[in-house]
Symmetry: C2
């Protein structure tokens, strides 16, 4: 845990740590990846906008009470400058076997460079209808 | 139109022009607000991710063929630095009178500073269940 809290890598490193924390239902590890700023924003698929650490932490706590979340971030499409990185991702997840609808999750993750390294300032995830796109020209697997 | 194409204002100005172009179904005016960069990303509510000018222009063209889009951007929540502005907005729109479900639209709009002024690099809009939040502490009306 200590190592996570001192994470000082790139936006890509923080993104990998984000999906890793999800896969382990690691609430403290997850929250340590966010900027120390009450302006942070989190939007879970279909849910209302959450602003600030307390609201965002509560939401992840409620999610993790139901278990860990296995997501593979695919088809990273990134734009960045010296201070900000904007990542657009297709989130591949294990769908319930009785699911009849084809859907996929799109996420926008925004990272800012802080004195302690890159941190999350925005996570906006939403449901898109249809199968995940075959984005051949841009396709990349993050890790 | 010429004035729109030479728009050189702040991210807030570009955002106002974006919702104005929607309200007038002004395709050229809309597209002039995006960064001249094939890395731009647009996600319409519930739809697949679009990357690049051609795909994004086509999507707005299809939308505008059905008419103009009246949206009021409310509850702007913004973070920014010298090069990037990230806006989170609740999009208030006229719901069909026969609509039985309470939903609202959340949008993440990312602007980058270019040599020609601030431009849109990302628009991610999605449907959230429930009524729009009463975000009293952060509430602001953009224009």
């Amino acid at each position: 845990m200590a190592a996570k809290k001192q994470l000082n890598g790139s936006a890509d490193d923080v993104e990998a740590a984000f999906y890793d924390a999800l896969s382990r239902a690691d609430l403290d590890g997850m929250m340590a990846l966010w900027a120390e700023d009450e302006e942070i924003v989190c939007i879970h698929p279909g849910a209302a906008r959450l602003i600030g650490h307390a609201a965002i932490r509560s939401s992840w706590e409620a999610i993790f009470e139901r278990g860990s979340v296995q997501i593979r971030p695919l088809q990273l499409h990134a734009t960045h400058n010296m201070l900000t990185a904007v990542h657009s991702i297709v989130e591949e997840f294990q769908r319930p076997s009785d699911s009849s609808q084809d859907v996929h999750i799109l996420a926008t993750n925004v990272y800012v460079k802080t004195p302690r390294g890159w941190r999350i300032t925005m996570h906006h995830a939403s449901v898109a209808s249809g199968k995940p796109p075959l984005d051949m020209f841009k396709a990349s697997i993050l890790h």
